[in-house]
Symmetry: C2
Subunit: 236 residues, 2 copies
């Protein structure tokens, strides 16, 4: 764990974040978030204030502030006088998150369909082609980042920052759900078919079709994850 530097302005990797946010709590927050999402702590694990503070080289104050922000983002659970724990995402929670994500992503597609440029369509088509290649090769390490880039391009392409923030908030909570196990390979083919349907609707500037395609894609993803989870563990 990288010890946060004692205020020396430029310090390697995230100098930009530092310049923008400066305050230690922001730094500590993103650091703890990284730790949580990396899956280093299992779901429900306790986050000790002093331990974390020592690891990051700060006092407990900023750590406690970071906890509050992470709690508001739904990444940790706080029990008074007991402590802070990595949020447990049950199957039931995951379903709820996926349904909201379906609505948000569908909305993104719908909004994008009304304003998408030819360049953006081309960009998505390039990603589509690359994903198909990776899919045929069963190359999950190539496929995964492309898949993320595809969804990110659509969500940020709307130009709606609130939508993007909401979407990424849901994504991070889902990361928490599948933090353990779940290679969730497979489903390349169907996933690519769904991607093509989305781009087709976007290219046709068809808001309704785009929403439906986006919604259906996330719902299909939900089904795939839940099926995969069914096989690996018997979580509540």
């Amino acid at each position: 764990m990288d010890r946060i530097a004692k205020r020396q302005p430029m310090e390697g990797s995230e100098a930009l974040d530092l310049l923008k946010s400066s305050s230690l709590s922001q730094l500590v927050q993103s650091e703890i978030q990284k730790i949580i999402l990396s899956g280093r702590y299992s779901a429900g694990a306790k986050l000790n204030e002093k331990t974390l503070a020592d690891q990051l080289g700060v006092s407990r104050g900023p750590v406690r502030e970071a906890f509050q922000a992470l709690h508001a983002r739904g990444l940790v659970e706080m029990i008074p006088n007991r402590g802070v724990f990595v949020q447990r995402i049950t199957r039931h929670d995951a379903v709820a998150i996926y349904d909201v994500r379906a609505g948000i992503f569908g909305t993104a597609c719908r909004l994008l369909a009304e304003r998408i440029t030819a360049d953006m369509v081309n960009e998505l088509n390039v990603l589509l082609a690359q994903m198909e290649v990776a899919g045929q090769r069963r190359d999950i390490d190539a496929y995964f980042p492309l898949n993320i880039e595809f969804h990110t391009a659509i969500v940020t392409g709307t130009g709606n920052q609130v939508l993007a923030d909401t979407y990424f908030g849901l994504i991070s909570r889902l990361q928490l759900f599948r933090a353990r196990g779940l290679v969730h390979g497979g489903g390349f083919e169907s996933s690519n078919i769904e991607h093509r349907a989305i781009v087709a609707a976007l290219d046709a500037r068809d808001p309704h079709g785009a929403f439906e395609a986006g919604w259906a894609h996330v719902q299909a993803g939900k089904a795939r994850i839940l099926a995969s989870d069914e096989n690996t563990a018997g979580s509540t």
Copy 2:
């Protein structure tokens, strides 16, 4: 401003909140949120740590923690070494929030259409009737809480807590937008027509129709607010 009691367990109004959350920061947070949403501070106004801490009868620590949570919820803006300010919601922001709200509310309607009970339909019909009475009487004080109850019933009726939280988060940010001025009366008639369309689709268990009705209702509300804002102030 009610001074927060010094730990005496039961203290009038929000004893339940206290029992559940206990920690001062939670209390302070909801208190500051109330202050912000009440519109007592104008948009962009500075929130002084020590002043607030003294008003609430606590030290700066819990106040700072509350700030972090409120920042994560998008209610305040934090500038390093400068302080915390009531979040400014521009017209552009409001449009973005409304678009997301349309998607979320539409999604709520869609999900609810798949699981709504006859009792729930009746409940909504009762609210519908009451709103029509209030609308015909131009009784905004009666109409407003009914309107909120109608939307809340739909959103919570889905049983999806994540969706509800997301929705209410957007609502509170919108409250920030129209905190000043904006009586936004009028539009009763059209609003009621839209409400009827929503309930009709729900009663018909028609997910697509319900989504569209919900989406259209929020979009219409957006148009009404923006038009009203056009007349009152020239915000950015």
